[in-house]
Amino acid sequence: MSLFKHIRQLNALQCLQAKRQYSPAALKSASLQYDKDPQPLFTDSETQRLLQSMTQLQLDKVFRQRTVPDNSSETKFMTTLQLEKQFVKTIEKAKHLLQMPPVVKIKQDTERIISKDPAMKDFATTKFVFTDITFGLRHSERKVVVRDVDGSLSYASLDTTKRMNQLYFPLEGRKSYTPRMFADEQLLQRCLDEHKYEFILDRLLVQYEPYETEFHNISARVYEHLNESKQFDLLRSTRHFGPMAFFYAWHSCIDDLLYDMIRNDYLHNAVELIALSYKIHQVPVDYKQTLSQLEQLQPTPAERAHAELLSCLKTKDELGIEQEIHQAIGKTEQDFTADELSLKFIEQYIGSEHSRKKVQLELALQTLKEVNLEKLQLYQGLKKAHGVQAS
């Protein structure tokens, strides 16, 4: 109890500060906003597929050890068949954990008055807030109404609705006050400088609803900072990568991310990113053909992760010499053809007027090409040496 008392006192102090500082952190740096509703483009199935593919699925990162009170693990004996079934389940679970937070536009607060009753003026000294706590309703359909002192009955503002929802149906991890991290400009900046992007975004998801102004401002700020610091690897294979890529594509500043992808040899993703930006800005370039070709050549991230899991089952002897060569080089023949296709597409993009950091991108591309060429030669040489027939 005494702890709570302490914290409450402190919070009361903070609240006073926070109320004063509330606006700067939220309002500052609102430079990049979604100017129209991004929802139709985001929920589009093709966009979703592109974003998921870009996010990738690294099982080590998705199922990293979490420091939560219950992080127990279970050990089981299984037959190979059961194990394979379990692998499929694991992939499903990983996909669930990578669920992207929805991107919606900011909801404006509208005052909706149900009835006015001037005869009820001054019936009490305070407002009354009524919340419908009917069992099994979703948050968005829960009704919260306010009876004001002057007798008018109206739907509650978004802020009040959220407060009441949190009060009667608490969401785990959400605070009833604005955390100081979000309220205080300097603390947020410090977190950003320490590259705690995932932590900030995770907390943001829990603390705010996707349609709130603060959500948009802070996430935009994080993405911008990330664009400058170029630590995209921190968010790769987390649920925030998709919205981040979407944000960059929307505001046409994909070049840094593209550069990072090329440097890390994620050419497939680079193509998808460019395609996404074309799609959003409706650039008349036919990207669908390249995409479909690439899709045929390369597996989706889920399939790749599944294959990775299955490969643990095989012993070394079962792997053919061909697979061993693939493992050594890290690429298959299909990958090489896919790379060629994507390189062509990326070069076309760099040549066009949409890219802004042409020199940098070209350099990276050149380096990659040389490395690729070397790898290809090595691959072919190895193949010839081992006498594997060219298929």
Binding site: L3, H6, I7, T67, H96, P179, R180, R203
Partner: protein, 207 residues
């Protein structure tokens, strides 16, 4: 520099007199003196001069805790060589043992180690015995030592041996640090029901 040397000497003489518990304090004292020498020369000299004025012997009372150590100093101390020599790579609390009668320790630790600005016990808890360890939400290096790497929760006082007062302060500090984002933790996963945000619009599209 002279007063410091004298302080060190005095503390060494103290060592012969006092028991096992004092050894730690003394070594810490020595190290702190050295650390302070390198970092805040003026501060320490002032202190020793004051002490010289106050008492003829000039030995600072090792049990006195009236002096307020700023958090910045504590944070620097945690990174200094003095800290390293005192604690090595282990945590602040690992070497600490509680004294108790019989086989089993009492369920709760003592209420407080410091009464009226002085250490009132022979075996003060890991935080109270070293005055340069300040519990504050900015002092994340220190707070991190008291958080379990497995569950992310605060370690119990039965493990760390903190007195109840320090433990309370620690809890408050950790909670504040988390609130400020200085300490990261695993935020619970939030599952989104897309239809809650998009449901109506999708229906419209269907129509």
């Amino acid at each position: 520099m002279l007063p410091i040397a004298r302080g060190v000497f005095n503390s060494l003489t103290l060592m012969t007199r006092s028991s096992r518990g004092a050894i730690h304090t003394v070594s810490a004292h020595k190290c702190k003196a050295a650390a302070a020498e390198s970092e805040t020369v003026e501060e320490i000299t002032d202190e020793s001069v004051d002490e010289g004025k106050m008492s003829g012997s000039g030995a600072p009372d090792p049990k006195d805790r009236t002096k307020v150590i700023p958090v910045e100093t504590s944070m620097r101390y945690l990174k200094s060589a003095a800290y390293k020599t005192t604690y090595g790579d282990s945590f602040v609390w690992t070497q600490y043992r509680r004294n108790h009668k019989g086989m089993f320790a009492p369920r709760k630790t003592r209420k407080t180690c410091i009464r009226q600005g002085k250490i009132s016990t022979g075996n003060p808890c890991p935080i109270c015995r070293d005055e340069y360890l300040v519990l504050d939400y900015r002092n994340t290096d220190l707070l991190q030592q008291f958080i379990s790497p497995y569950s992310g929760q605060l370690l119990s006082y039965s493990k760390t041996g903190l007195c109840q007062k320090s433990h309370l302060r620690l809890m408050v500090a950790v909670e504040q640090a988390r609130d400020c984002g200085l300490l990261t933790y695993d935020v619970p996963f939030r599952e989104y029901d897309y239809s809650e945000y998009y449901g109506k619009q999708e229906k419209k599209q269907e129509q």
